[in-house]
Symmetry: C2
Subunit: 460 residues, 2 copies
Amino acid sequence: MTTTSQPSGDSVHTVVIGAGYAGLSTALSLADAGVEVLVLEGSERVGGRVHTGTLDGGVVVDHGGQWVGPTQHRLLSMAERFGCATFPTYDSGDHLELWADGICRPFRGAGPVGGPGVEQYIEATEAIDKLAAAINLDDPTATEQLAEWDGETVASYFDRTVPDEDARRRLALAVQGVWTVEPRDISLFHLLFYVASAGGFDQLMETQGCAQERRFTGGAQSVALAMAEHLGNRVRLNSAVRHIEHASDGVRIHTDEAVVHASHVVVATSPGAAVRLRFTPALPPSRNRWMERSPMGDVTKIHTVYETPFWRASGLSGQATVYGNHSVGVVFDNSPEDARAGVLVSFVYAERQQRWSARTAAERRADVLATLREIFGDEAANPVQYTEKSWPEDPWAHGGYAANPAPGVWVEHGAAGWRTPCGRVHWAGSETSSVWNGYIDGAIASGQRAAAEIIAGSAP
Amino acid sequence: MTTTSQPSGDSVHTVVIGAGYAGLSTALSLADAGVEVLVLEGSERVGGRVHTGTLDGGVVVDHGGQWVGPTQHRLLSMAERFGCATFPTYDSGDHLELWADGICRPFRGAGPVGGPGVEQYIEATEAIDKLAAAINLDDPTATEQLAEWDGETVASYFDRTVPDEDARRRLALAVQGVWTVEPRDISLFHLLFYVASAGGFDQLMETQGCAQERRFTGGAQSVALAMAEHLGNRVRLNSAVRHIEHASDGVRIHTDEAVVHASHVVVATSPGAAVRLRFTPALPPSRNRWMERSPMGDVTKIHTVYETPFWRASGLSGQATVYGNHSVGVVFDNSPEDARAGVLVSFVYAERQQRWSARTAAERRADVLATLREIFGDEAANPVQYTEKSWPEDPWAHGGYAANPAPGVWVEHGAAGWRTPCGRVHWAGSETSSVWNGYIDGAIASGQRAAAEIIAGSAP
């Protein structure tokens, strides 16, 4: 196989598969270093699991990843490089908790003081942080307690250590909200690794000073769009890769229309797409097992748009957590920076996402609006616009937010399977990051790491 | 889309994907009922995870599934229909247990009496049988304790209920031997379902009267070969399916060379292959999640061939269970019926399979032979032939014996995902069977059930 120094379209130094933040960051780092690169993206847009839409009246909403926090340096500096502005998440006034008894309990600040199960919940999150401090982030499988912690589900761990049922309800919603799976679906080890990669449990959960602190004025896809514009014809849309042939002297990447020869390939798709790629020869079993046993989470984001953010006038923040038997788990004020309209975003997660999404469109909408009415009153039940984005049904992501290794996967397949290159096949994607795993920031970190692998290891 | 009554090659009533026992049984039932059917098989042979080889000297060995037990009526009657003979598994003399102390403890009969952890092991298996009696086999998700049992790993369950470490070692090897995964990898619910589908824990574990009772004189693939011969040109080898388009009026099945139109399609591949198929439109999320979260197990079968079954003369059965820190977990006498040579089959499972298979061929062989020498003496270290079949590296099966739903998968995705047809797409494969799930008998049952769906539901 041959390579050239120009992206001629059928021969290039490095092919990157997927134009989400991981793939775009890989390409940007390679382009910055003068390495010729071609990004092949299956869909008709860049951004991957970050997808900004513009609704009637110019209301910008994020159907996918949307927030940025103060320790997410890679995303912040990428935004700075391309001049993409951010603004604070609306966080004033009372947050509400809705319980099965139908009572909405208000609270202010990072978390409730008092209320059902609060004490044990806080103790449990502190215990998680203590355990997470033992995680080796650069080589998670070198963590001393790996086998012990990867052998039990988070559900078993909570059952064992948290007696209060209401505290366990809080913890279950936290797991659903952060990992979009049920506590039974992931191992204690993966939860701890993920917490460690973010810098602590509060970083994942909270707004001020944490992962939900700010939003992008033009939507979170705006940075990706700017990166793609900078990369120019190095990004090719509507080019789904079907087959990857890899050998010691190069790779051949097959789309429906073309075969591209390259020296290296970086797989930067969602893990849900990566597991469906065909490789010749087959990948090592450890890598296959890692992908096969890291299924995507389940989440739908629902936006309801109103003339104004009417809840603000009542002293409400628009933030709500739902502990009853509802489909909606969490609500945020997602209004545009200029508040030209009021927007609530509702999240439906994990097992409830599967049940809710199997219902008719009218049933789904009525279900969400009934919950919003219960929390914010009658006005919430009459939005002027309503949108849903179901990530499990996205044909490129196959789920969201992220892929979560099942119990046993880190201990059995992590060492060789997590992100070790397979010959000339390299791995990017937020799931391969030691920092902010599962977040946009982690995706960027992963792309920069994959590009560094190629730059360091490339034949002259 | 149109269908014809003849398998013209590009239009047929039903396409079956995969010519393992499930696919062949589907096709046979349809052909018996006068329905035109075409089986598309990716590899160059039929049998799927059952694969018989003939070594030097005409020694027949089974690299995949091999045994048949007295309650496996479907496989037995299929063998009878096609005149395939069976013979008893060699089961005379002392079985051996090898522990980390290097001592081989002999025992006779179904299981040891006395010895490390035996009492609690037996209690635990009796407890499993009691719990398994509550499983609803026709609709597993209707089982009352579904959520409870699917929320914890088998490892957690044993940690919680079996204090004796040696008893837990015995249980771990039993799980590895039957499910080819670690106890941490599967939920208690799936283990109980599987036990129930076989008719009890002993049915899975034992030889006389149980799943390992008999072998096929011509190898376990002989029945599949006879079925395929009967089906004639309805079976097309070397025809890997890449893409399935399905609509309310028919399906289009794409291989690299052809497009076949049909009224229905039955996916009868290994789940590891099914998850990699491309569907347009995408399958419902519940089905995708079921497949994505049911990874294949890991097993390698190693055959060592000797001039004679020398262990028999020493009063040994050739059966051994290894509880030390060895790669080999279980050994059986796998000599041909006429004992023209002595054959031992060694199984390497689960986590140890991954580690062992990553080593060089010379290291793997030396490791296995060292264990066989420890058990059977010096003669065992000098086989005249040596073969390995690593199922995780099989490009069509992607693992073996079977796929195992991860914790949470039955409760979250079982009802809609397990085997419910998706429009004109039907599901076969041993993993979809209510009886002998994971076994050849279950594969045949699944094919007969899928064929019945099509016969019952077909438009005239």
